[in-house]
């Protein structure tokens, strides 16, 4: 579904000053906590590539960031970027097993799939 120009502008405005991506890239847990304290969401997606901070962290192997971020109740590891990839897919390409384990456990809590029949 196409998004409106106003929606793009709203998203861009929300991203200004959002340092969650920087925290994700640099594996900076203090910065993550500070940004979460300001009410930033880990599920916010970049307008272009659709990355959430979890995608950026998985791409960069920021394991400590993932460990703390995935404890936040609102964090959704099932969000896909604009190429249809999960944060776990980025960790898998790098075979970053620690990051893979963290994301896998968040995606399948107690081994349960999302939609059981």
């Amino acid at each position: 579904m196409a998004i409106t120009k106003a929606e793009i502008e709203r998203r861009l405005r929300a991203l200004v000053g959002n340092r969650l991506y920087e925290a994700a890239r640099l594996n900076d847990v203090d910065l993550l906590r500070a940004e979460l304290g300001k009410g930033r969401s880990l599920n916010q997606q970049r307008p272009g590539n659709g990355f959430t901070p979890l995608h950026t962290a998985a791409l960069n192997g920021s394991v400590e960031f993932l460990r703390v971020a995935l404890q936040a109740k609102h964090a959704d590891p099932w969000i896909q970027d604009s190429k249809g990839r999960l944060a776990l897919d980025h960790a898998e390409v790098r075979r970053d097993r620690e990051a893979m384990r963290l994301l896998f456990d968040a995606m399948y809590p107690n081994g349960r799939v999302r939609f059981a029949e």
Partner: protein, 361 residues
């Protein structure tokens, strides 16, 4: 707007109270839960290869029941736990309870040679979970490496149909066999390195240690050589972080013999894609673009490769990859990368490059 019947006044309670929560219907679930068919087929192939691998290692055939039990182990265990309260009626120890969500018959149908259907999205969730858990354990690394290399060869063959050096100009031979031998020696499995001082965007002191590698795979008669551009960045704890930046192919356009002392020059084109889809900053680099084709002169010599980065947009896109500060530059810029020998570090980089991003149509 709802109104209270008879009075005509607005029912404010209905405005401010949250809408009643409703469980997602099957149709709504399907809208959220969607797996492309190619994705499913790839995972089913991986599972079949895993079964063959398991049979080869154990020296005895592995049936689909064994695979089904591995896939559905969490559900079976939960069922066992639920039924354990009914021991007086069901003999749990002797009859292994199996979840009916995915059955042996399902597996037989999916892998039947005369049937072509794939698992439904709901049932496929269990396959996906199992394959991803195998990936974490490293049990399918070799399988996926082989599948990815096969995919690379498939793309190489496809590109060969479009890009091939022309051996004749009219009746005159312009490519000689001995030149091809020289090109193969210069290109095949070659590795080049560049200190990329301006790649870091963090502004930290460690930025100067970033290195850019251009790694080529084997060159063969198709004149299409897979290549990767990788950045090794300092991660702050003394380690270096591997960032696969671009992946693609070097395609030979023409091969020239210049003066005898200069040897052979390969004029090639780089077809590069930024497979991760990361935008500048997400992967700690300034490199732009998520794909594109770049015409580039590549001049290979025994100790280096010189790449012409072009001008304008091409330069703007490729400059940052190789640490060239473009800064409004309009003239033609080139960059030289030093040839290095393959060592353990390069082998380690190459082995980690085996796992590719895949795009599902």
């Amino acid at each position: 707007m709802s109104k209270s019947s008879g009075t005509g006044r607005r029912d404010l309670a209905s405005i401010f109270s949250p809408p009643p929560m409703k469980a997602k219907s099957a149709d709504e679930q399907r809208a959220v839960l969607y797996y492309p068919e190619a994705f499913k087929r790839h995972y089913m192939d991986v599972l079949a290869c895993f079964r063959d691998d398991l049979a080869e290692r154990s020296g005895k055939p592995v049936g689909w029941q064994a695979i089904r039990d591995m896939v559905m182990q969490p559900e079976d265990e939960r069922l066992t736990a639920e039924l354990s309260g009914e021991r007086d009626r069901i003999k749990v120890d002797s009859t292994r309870p199996r979840s009916p969500l995915v059955t042996l018959e399902d597996f037989k149908g999916w892998y039947h040679p005369r049937k072509s259907h794939v698992p439904s999205d709901i049932k496929f969730q269990y396959i996906e979970r199992f394959v991803r858990s195998l990936r974490i354990s490293g049990k399918i690394d070799e399988i996926e490496r082989e599948l990815d290399l096969a995919q690379g060869e498939y793309i190489r063959d496809a590109l060969h149909l479009f890009y091939r050096p022309v051996p004749f100009a009219g009746t005159k031979v312009v490519i000689r066999e001995d030149w091809l031998g020289t090109v193969k020696r210069l290109v095949s499995s070659a590795c080049f390195r560049l200190k990329a001082e301006s790649l870091g965007i963090g502004g930290g002191d460690d930025d100067g240690d970033a290195e850019c590698f251009l790694i080529l795979r084997e060159y063969h008669g198709s004149h299409v050589t897979p290549l990767d551009i990788v950045v090794m960045q300092p991660s702050g704890d003394g380690e270096r972080k591997q960032m696969p930046l671009y992946t693609g192919f070097l395609v030979s356009e023409s091969i020239l013999s210049m003066f005898p002392e200069e040897g052979v020059i390969l004029i090639g084109k780089l077809i590069l894609t930024k497979e991760s889809g990361a935008s500048p900053g997400d992967d700690g680099t300034r490199a732009l673009s998520d794909g594109g084709t770049y015409s580039s002169w590549a001049s290979f010599s025994p100790d280096a490769v010189k790449l012409d980065l072009g001008t304008g947009e091409d330069l703007g896109l490729m400059g940052p990859v190789f640490g060239v500060d473009v800064g409004g530059e309009q003239q033609n810029l080139s960059v030289g990368l030093k040839r290095i020998e393959r060592d353990e570090e390069i082998d380690s980089i190459v082995s980690r490059l085996a796992y590719r991003y895949r795009t599902w149509p």
